[in-house]
Symmetry: C2
C-alpha cells in the first residue's frame, strides 16, 4: 500500500472523471473514451484502471493489491448502480469489454476480452429476454474462446478445429449459418476442452472473470510481440498498460445493429473526407476477419442517414477537438450509435504532410502545430522509392534484419564489390550481399541498387555509407550462411532455409528490414506540394543550421536539393577509393622513403584539388568542412596475396616488402590505433597536401565565382590534446599562408577546427579551443570510446542488453545524454569559455536523429550535419526542437 | 625584451648572489658553486646565466637578446674588476670555464668548454710569466680542440689523428712527453684545420669566444643524447640549461697542482667514508681519460695532509649542509684547494638504503627524510637478480628495447610458448622470443627465464604479465625480423645485423632494455638490513593501502613477502590457461546449448574453487578481490586449423562448427568488444559459477582458519551503467545467498564492487555507487578509452608524439592527470556522494607508478594495487606522497 500522508493513490477512474490530458495514466483508449464522454458523445459507460496499477501489479510480483482491488469493486458497483444492471444478474446482466491501452498506440500488441460477464444462467436468461438465443450463445461461445486464449493461454487450434468440424458436419460455409443449438453445443465443447486443459471448470463467477481478465491484460504488456514492438519504437518497458472496462454494446444484436471503423481523412493520401468501412449485424472482429466484406462508410448514409449524420457530426467535432485526423471505432446497437474509441490516426508520410498543410488552411492548426505534427522519420521515407504495396503482399519473405538505410530495391545478387561494378556496367541491376562491408566496397555499393549484410547494426560501415549515398540497405540479417566454391569464392548463401545463388533476384525493403525473393515492383518517391510548404515553415522556425555529410559532388548536389546549408563533413578518404586515386594512396603508404612519399602525394594533389573544386561548385558558395584523412592506413591496402602482388607490381617493390608493410600496419584495435590526426603527426606531408588541395580548390572556385563566399574549413580528427592540433595547425597555416601569399587577387580566410571525438578532447576542450575555430562532435567515435563499445562488434551483445533492460536504446542511434551527452555539454561549455564565438556542431550519425537533435538544441549548438537523405528530417526535427514539441510517435 | 613594469628580468647571477634553493634557475652546477661560495668555501669566482636565458635563447630563434648580453657583460666586468684580471689581457689574463647545468643532473649529456680566453698573445705572455710555456700551449691546444668540437661541431677525428701522428713522429707514448714546441706546433696545426673546415680564422677575441661558447652550451640542451636522456627520465624539454662561467684554476700547472673527484660515502655500498680518486699535475679530463692511473683519495693524506684535512673538513660540512651523500669535484692549484662542484651523489639501490638508514642514525636525517630520499624505482631493482657488472662489460650488445620488466636473465632462445615449456621441462633455461605475446603464451612465459618481444610497450601484454610473474622482459626491440622454415615455423630471427637461431644463448637486461649475445653471469638480489628498516618507516608514514595484483598462489606468496596487504585484483582468466582448465573453458565457449554450457561450467567450478582456496590460504586472511572473467572469449580459442581440429575432437563437435564459433567470436576491435561484464550479461551462468567458487572457497578456508578474516570481494569489470552492475549483482547475491544459507556455522559478508574503466562509468559513478561497495579504477582501460589509444597499437605512433612534444610521457606509464585523472577525480567525488564509505582504489599498472601513486594520495583514494614486484616501491611512494616530497631524480 502506498500512502502519501492520508491520501490513497487513485488507481481507477470513471470515464466521467478522465480526459484526453490523462493519456499517460489512462492509456490512449481510456483517455479517448473519457474525453468523448466529457464532450457529451454517446459512449458506453465504464471505467479505466490506470497504468500505475499495472506497474504496481508487476512490482508486487504479479498480484493486484487489495487497495486497487477495492477501487475496482467500487467503480464496478457505481457502474452497476448507474446502469441498473449487474454482472452475472440473469434478470439484467451487465456485460463488459476489458481492453488494453498504453500511453502510445501499440496496435494489436496487447490483449482484449469482449462479452465478459456471461455464464450459462445469464446466457439463457439473455436469450429468452432478447428473443435472440442465437446471439446470446454466439456471444458466450466467443467469450469462452477468447478467455481461454487470452487469460489461460490455451491452445487455440483445438477450439478452431471444433468450429470447422461442426460446420463440416452441418454442411455450412459461414459461422452465421450455425443455429442457436449448434452454438450451444459448440460452447459446451469449448467448456469441456477448457476443463480438460486447465483441470477445473470455466469460471462462472463474472467477478472472478473480470479480475482474471484484468490481470491477463496487464500481463499482455510483457508478451513477446509487445516487447519487440516497444524495442522497435523506443517505448520504455516500465510504462505499463491501462485497462478499460466498458459496458458492451452489440453490433451483432439485430439487423439494425452494426459496427465499423473510420478515419476522418484518407490515411493514404491525406485527402479530407470520411474514410472507412462498416458491417451491419456484426461484432468488431467480423470486420477484421474478412469472412464478410465490409461496406464503404459512405453507404451508411443511405442505410441509416440519421446515424450517418450523427456520426459525421461527431467526427467533425472530434477532429476539431483533437486538431488532428481521427481514427475511430463505433458500434450501432439496435439503431443507436455508440463511439467506442477515437485516436489520432496513423497515416502515410504523404498523407501526414497533406493533412498538416490542410489543417493549417482550415484554421485548425498553426504553422508551428503543423510542423510539430509530423514525425521526422516520415520525411526520409518520402525521399526514396517504395515497394508497391500490392506487389509486396505477394512477395516471398526470405528473412529480416535491421532497416539500416531506407528505400526499396530489387536486383540480382552479387557477392563482391567488383562484381557489383562489372555486372552493373553490363546493364544488370544488382544487390550486393556481403558478410559486412569495408571501405574497399564503397565503389561497388555505389553501383548496386541496394546492400544486404549479414552483420552490423544501424551505424555499421555498410549502414553509414548506404545512407550517405542514398542506397537502400538491410543489415544484421541473422542466419545467413555463405557457401564457397573450391577457390573460396562465395557463390551463394542460405538465408534461413532459403538458398540464394549469384544472379538470383531479391528485393530489399530498407524501411522494414525485410528481404524478399524475386523482383518486386516499386513506386517512385512522390513529394506533394504540401511537403515543401511544411518544410518551409520548419526552416523558418528552426535555429540549428542543418548541414550534410557529403564526400562527392553527387552527394553534395543531393544534399543541396534536400536543403542542406553546407557540408559539415567531407570524408576525404572516401574519394581515395576511386580507381585512379587508390593506386596513388597506396603508393604513398608503401613509400620506402620521404621522396617516394612526396612523389605519391604529388600525384594525389591534383586529384584532391579537383575533388574539392567540384564540391565547392556543387555547394555554390555554401560552407564546406573538409576533414583530414581519418582511417588507419591499412584500410587502403588489400591483404589478399593477389592484391599484394598487384600492388608490388604497381609500385615497383617486391611482394615481401609489401607484405611487411601490411604486417606492420596491422592493428589489434584499429579503432584506437594509428588514425585520425595521428596520421598527420607521423606524416605531416599528408596534411600539408590536403590543406594545399583545399585552399587551391577554393581559390580556383572563388576566381570563377567572385560573388560566392568560399572560405575553406579544415577539420582535424581525433585529437586528444591541444598540442596535436597546434602542431597540425602550424603545418596547415604555413602551407595555406604560402599559397595565399601568391594569390593576392583573392581574399580568403581559412578556418581550422577540430573534431571532438575522444573523451579526453571533451575533457580538455578549454585548451583545445584555443587553437580551434570550431568543434564538430564526432559522436560515433565519442560514443564508442565513452562506452567502450566498438560499433563493429557491439551488435553481438547489445540484444542481451535490451532484453535485460540494461540499455533502453542503441546509443549509436540516439545520443546517450547522460554519458556522451555529459562530455558534449562539458566540452561546449569549456570551449566557449575559451572562445565565445566557437562554432559547435555534431557530425556523427546522431546529427540526423530527432532525439539527438533536440539535445543539440538544448545545448545551444550551432549546427548538425548528417547524411543527405536525413537532411530534410533533421530540418524538421530542428524546428520541433525549437518549438519544444516532439512529433507524436505513430508507428 | 620582457619587462614587468619597470623591472628587468635578472638573467645573470654572481655566485655570491645565488644559493642551493635556486637550482631551477641556476642549474645544479650553478646552485652548487653559489651555495659553497655562501658557505665560505674556496670556490673560483664566477657567475651563472640562468635557465630562463636558455629558454629565451630558443624562443628568440637561437639568439641571445641584447638585455641578456648586457647582463653577461656587466657580470664579466665585475668579475674582472674583482680579480684584477681581464679576458684577453696578456698582462694578467682571465681564463674561464663555461659549463652546462640543468635543474637535474644529466651527466655528460651536455657540453663544457675549458680554458676559454686564450689566444696567441695571451698564451705567449702566460708561458713567459709562469715560466711554464708547455702548460700554456697545452692549455691553448686543449681549448682550440674543445671549441672546435663543441662550438663549431667540427670533425674530431682529424684533431686526434694529428696528436697521434705527432706522438709517433716524436716516438713518445704519452701527451705529457710532448714539449712546449711540440704543443705549439700541434696548436698551429689545429688552428689551420679550424680555418680549413670553417673558412675563417679561429676567433682571437675572448669575448667572441665566450658568447659563442655560451650559445653552444645552450644548444647542447637539444643535442640528441640530451633529448634521449630526458625522454628516458621524464624530464621536460622546456626546462633549458643554465651556463656557469667560472675562473679557471689549473690542476696541471705544477707538481703541487692536481685535480680529483670524490664521494662522501661509497656510492656502491653506501658505507660512510671518503671515496674517490685524484691525479696530480693534471686537468679533470685526464682523470677521466684513463691515460694515467689516478690515485685513491686516501693517498692525498700523505701527499698533502694540509689540503687533505681542508678537503675532509669541507666534505663533512657539505654533507651535513646538504644532508645527503655528496659527489664533488676539486682542483689543487699550486698547493691551494678549490672546490669546483658539489651535488648529491648517485648511488646504487643498495647504497641508497644504507645511506638513508645511516644518516638517520647520525642524526642528519629524520626518518621522514630518509624515506623521501630514495627513488622508488631503486626498490624494484633490489628485488631481482642483476648481471654481474664485469661480465656485462664483456657482453656483445645485440640490440635494445624498452625495459618492461626488471631483472636479468640468460637462456636459450625458443620461439613458441610450447617450446618454452618443453625445453624447460627437459632441463634447459630458455628465453622466449616472440613478435608479441597473447594470453595463450602465459604458461610458456612462466617457464621461461625471460621474455623478449619485438612489439609492445610498457603496458603491452608481455610487459604486464612479465611484471606480474616477476619475469625479466624486454619489449619493442625494433629491427627484429623473424625467419621461418617451409612449414611457417619461426626458426631464427635477425636483431639488427645479428642473427639468433633457436637454441642460441642470449641475455636480457630488464633494467636497461638491452639484449646481449651469450650467457652473462648474474648476482643475486641483495637486500641489506637497511632496506627493511627504511621500508618499515615508509609503512608507518603512508596512508594508502598497498595491494598486489596476483593470479596464482605463487604470485600471492611473493606479494605477501613484498609487503602487500591484500590482493586488489585476481584476474581469474589467467588461471584458465592452465592445461586442465583451458579445455573446460573452451568446452564452455563452444557449447551448443545451455546444457552443454552448464556441464562445462560444472567442470570449471571445482578448479576455480581450489584456485581461490589456495589464494585465500596464501594471503592468510588478508583481503582478496576477485574480478569476474574479463577478456573476450576468442582469446581462449586457438585459431590454427590443427588447434581447431583438436578442440573439435575434445568437445565432440565437428570442425566446421568450431570454425563457425571462432568466426562469430572474431572481433574488429576486441578491446571494445564482447568482454568484461558484457560476458556476464550474456552468460550469467559464468558469473554465478565464479561467485559460487569464490564463496565456497572462502567458507572452506574460514572453516580451516576460524580466526582469519575471510570476506569474499567480487569485482565486476567494464561496466558502463548501473543496470549492468545491478543485474550481475542480483545473480551473485542469489548464488551467494543460497550458499551462505547452507553454511550457518560461518559468518561471512560478500562484498560486490566494480571496476571503473570506461569513461561512462566514471561519468555516472554516482548511480553506479548505489550498487557497488568499492570502485577499483582500471586505469589501463580507462586510459585507452579516454585517449582512444589502443595499448597494443599506440607504440607505432607514440614516438612521433614524444619527438614532436605532443605528449611528455607515456600515459600508460604515468597517469594522465588532466584527462584520465579528471574522470577518476569526478568518479571518486560522485561515488562518495552516493556512498560515503565507498572504498576506492586503482588496480591498473599505474598502481605501481610513484607519480600516479602521488595522484591517488591527492585524491584520497584508499588503496593501490600493482604487480607483486612493484609492491615495495609502491609502499615507499605512498609514504612519500603523504610526506608531500618526491624522491630526487638521480638516474
Amino acid at each position: 500500500m502506498r500512502f502519501s500522508g492520508n491520501e490513497v493513490n487513485q488507481y481507477v477512474y470513471k470515464f466521467s472523471e478522465g480526459d484526453a490530458s490523462m493519456r499517460d495514466l489512462l492509456g490512449g483508449k481510456g483517455a479517448g473514451v473519457a474525453e468523448m464522454t466529457k464532450l457529451g458523445m454517446p459512449v458506453p459507460e465504464g471505467f479505466t484502471i490506470t497504468t500505475s496499477a499495472c506497474v504496481r501489479y508487476f512490482d508486487d510480483g504479479g498480484k493486484i493489491d487489495e487497495d486497487i482491488k477495492s477501487q475496482i469493486f467500487d467503480a464496478l458497483s457505481e457502474l452497476q448502480e448507474s446502469l441498473g444492471k449487474r454482472l452475472g444478474d440473469p434478470e439484467n446482466p451487465l456485460l463488459v469489454s476489458v481492453r488494453s491501452g498504453a500511453r502510445v498506440s501499440m496496435p494489436g500488441m496487447m490483449d482484449t476480452i469482449l462479452n465478459l460477464g456471461l455464464n450459462r444462467d445469464v446466457v439463457e436468461a439473455l436469450g429468452a429476454r432478447t428473443g435472440n438465443p442465437r446471439w446470446a450463445w454466439d456471444s458466450y461461445r466467443r467469450f469462452v474462446q477468447m478467455y481461454s486464449d487470452v487469460v489461460m493461454g490455451l491452445d487455440k487450434s483445438r477450439f478452431e478445429r471444433a468450429i470447422d468440424d461442426l460446420k463440416r458436419e452441418r454442411g455450412v460455409e459461414s459461422d452465421t449459418d450455425l443455429t442457436a443449438e449448434d452454438l450451444e453445443g459448440l460452447t459446451d465443447l469449448f467448456l469441456d476442452e477448457y476443463k480438460r486443459q486447465v483441470g477445473r471448470s470455466f469460471p462462472a463467477d463474472p467477478v472472478e472473470q473480470l479480475m482474471e481478465a484484468v490481470k491477463a491484460v496487464f500481463r499482455s504488456w510483457n508478451n513477446p510481440r509487445a516487447i519487440y514492438f516497444r524495442r522497435m519504437n523506443s517505448i520504455p518497458d516500465d510504462w505499463g498498460t491501462a485497462v478499460t472496462v466498458q459496458r458492451m454494446v452489440f453490433g451483432n444484436m439485430s439487423a439494425d445493429s452494426g459496427t465499423g471503423v473510420a478515419f476522418s481523412r484518407n490515411p493514404s493520401t491525406g485527402v479530407k473526407g470520411l474514410f472507412g468501412e462498416y458491417l451491419m449485424n456484426a461484432q468488431g472482429e467480423d470486420v477484421v476477419s474478412g469472412v464478410r466484406t465490409p461496406q464503404p462508410i459512405s453507404h451508411l448514409k443511405d442505410q441509416n442517414p440519421e446515424v450517418f449524420d450523427q456520426f459525421t457530426h461527431i467526427v467533425d467535432k472530434l477532429e476539431l477537438h483533437y486538431r488532428d485526423m481521427q481514427d475511430m471505432e463505433f458500434t450501432i446497437e439496435e439503431g443507436k450509435l455508440y463511439m467506442l474509441q477515437t485516436r489520432n490516426g496513423k497515416r502515410t508520410p504523404q498523407a501526414a504532410f497533406r493533412i498538416a498543410s490542410d489543417l493549417v488552411d482550415e484554421g485548425i492548426l498553426t504553422q508551428e502545430d503543423a510542423v510539430c505534427s509530423i514525425d521526422p522519420k516520415y520525411v526520409t521515407a518520402l525521399l526514396h522509392p517504395q515497394f508497391d504495396a500490392d506487389a509486396l503482399a505477394q512477395g516471398t519473405l526470405l528473412g529480416a534484419g535491421l532497416p539500416t538505410s531506407p528505400g526499396a530495391a530489387s536486383g540480382r545478387v552479387v557477392f563482391t564489390a567488383e562484381d557489383a561494378v562489372e555486372w552493373t556496367k553490363r546493364g544488370e541491376q544488382v544487390i550486393l550481399v556481403r558478410l559486412d562491408t569495408t571501405p574497399e566496397d564503397i565503389v561497388g555499393m555505389n553501383y548496386a541498387q541496394g546492400v544486404l549484410t549479414a552483420r552490423g547494426g544501424m551505424t555499421s560501415h555498410a549502414a553509414v555509407v548506404a545512407r550517405g549515398i542514398g542506397r537502400c540497405c538491410v543489415s544484421g540479417v541473422s542466419g545467413i550462411e555463405f557457401s564457397e566454391d573450391a577457390e573460396g569464392n562465395v557463390v551463394g548463401c542460405a538465408i534461413g532455409e532459403n538458398v540464394v545463388h549469384e544472379g538470383d533476384w531479391i528485393s530489399l525493403d530498407g524501411n522494414t528490414g525485410k528481404v524478399y525473393a524475386g523482383r518486386i515492383a516499386t513506386v517512385p518517391a512522390s513529394i506533394s506540394g504540401a511537403f515543401g510548404r511544411v518544410m518551409g515553415w520548419a526552416d523558418r522556425f528552426r535555429r540549428l543550421e542543418v548541414r550534410a555529410n557529403a564526400d562527392t559532388p553527387r552527394d553534395a548536389a543531393q544534399a543541396r536539393e534536400f536543403g542542406a546549408e553546407g557540408i559539415g563533413l567531407v570524408r576525404t578518404e572516401h574519394m581515395f577509393f576511386q580507381e585512379d586515386r587508390i593506386t596513388a594512396i597506396r603508393e604513398m603508404i608503401v613509400a620506402a622513403n620521404e621522396q617516394e612519399r612526396r612523389r605519391a602525394l604529388d600525384k594525389l594533389l591534383p586529384m584532391q584539388r579537383s575533388d574539392f573544386e567540384a564540391l565547392y561548385e556543387a555547394m555554390e558558395g555554401r560552407s564546406v568542412t573538409v576533414r583530414l584523412i581519418d582511417p588507419p592506413l591499412h584500410e587502403f591496402i588489400p591483404k589478399t596475396p593477389e592484391a599484394v602482388a598487384e600492388l608490388a607490381a604497381q609500385t615497383g617493390h617486391d611482394t615481401a616488402y609489401i607484405e611487411n608493410v601490411v604486417d606492420e600496419l596491422r592493428e589489434v584495435n584499429p579503432m584506437m590505433g594509428h588514425r585520425g590526426c595521428r596520421l598527420a603527426i607521423t606524416y605531416p606531408q599528408i596534411a600539408r597536401m590536403q590543406a594545399q588541395a583545399v585552399v587551391e580548390a577554393a581559390i580556383n572556385v572563388k576566381r570563377r565565382h567572385p560573388l560566392w563566399s568560399v572560405s575553406p574549413e579544415i577539420m582535424v580528427p581525433l585529437v586528444v590534446n591541444r598540442c596535436e592540433l597546434d602542431y597540425i595547425k602550424q603545418q596547415i597555416d604555413q602551407t595555406v599562408g604560402e599559397i595565399l601569399a601568391h594569390a593576392s587577387d583573392v581574399t580568403m580566410v581559412c578556418q581550422i577546427g577540430t573534431m571532438i571525438e575522444t573523451p579526453r578532447a571533451a575533457i580538455r576542450a578549454d585548451e583545445i579551443a584555443a587553437d580551434a575555430e570550431f568543434f564538430s562532435f564526432g559522436t560515433n567515435d565519442l560514443t564508442q570510446m565513452t562506452f567502450g563499445f566498438s560499433r563493429d562488434d557491439a551488435a553481438s551483445f547489445l540484444d542481451d542488453y535490451y532484453d535485460k533492460h540494461i540499455l533502453d536504446a542503441d546509443p549509436f542511434m540516439h545520443l546517450d545524454r547522460k554519458g556522451v551527452g555529459f562530455l558534449i555539454s562539458r566540452a561546449a561549455e569549456l570551449g566557449r569559455r575559451t572562445r565565445p564565438n566557437l562554432r559547435l556542431g555534431v557530425c556523427g550519425e546522431h546529427g540526423g536523429d530527432p532525439e539527438s537533435i533536440a539535445f543539440c538544441e538544448e545545448l545551444g549548438l550551432d549546427y548538425v550535419s548528417c547524411s543527405p537523405y536525413r537532411v530534410p528530417g533533421a530540418r524538421l526535427a530542428a524546428a520541433q526542437a525549437v518549438l519544444g514539441r516532439r512529433a507524436p510517435v505513430r508507428r
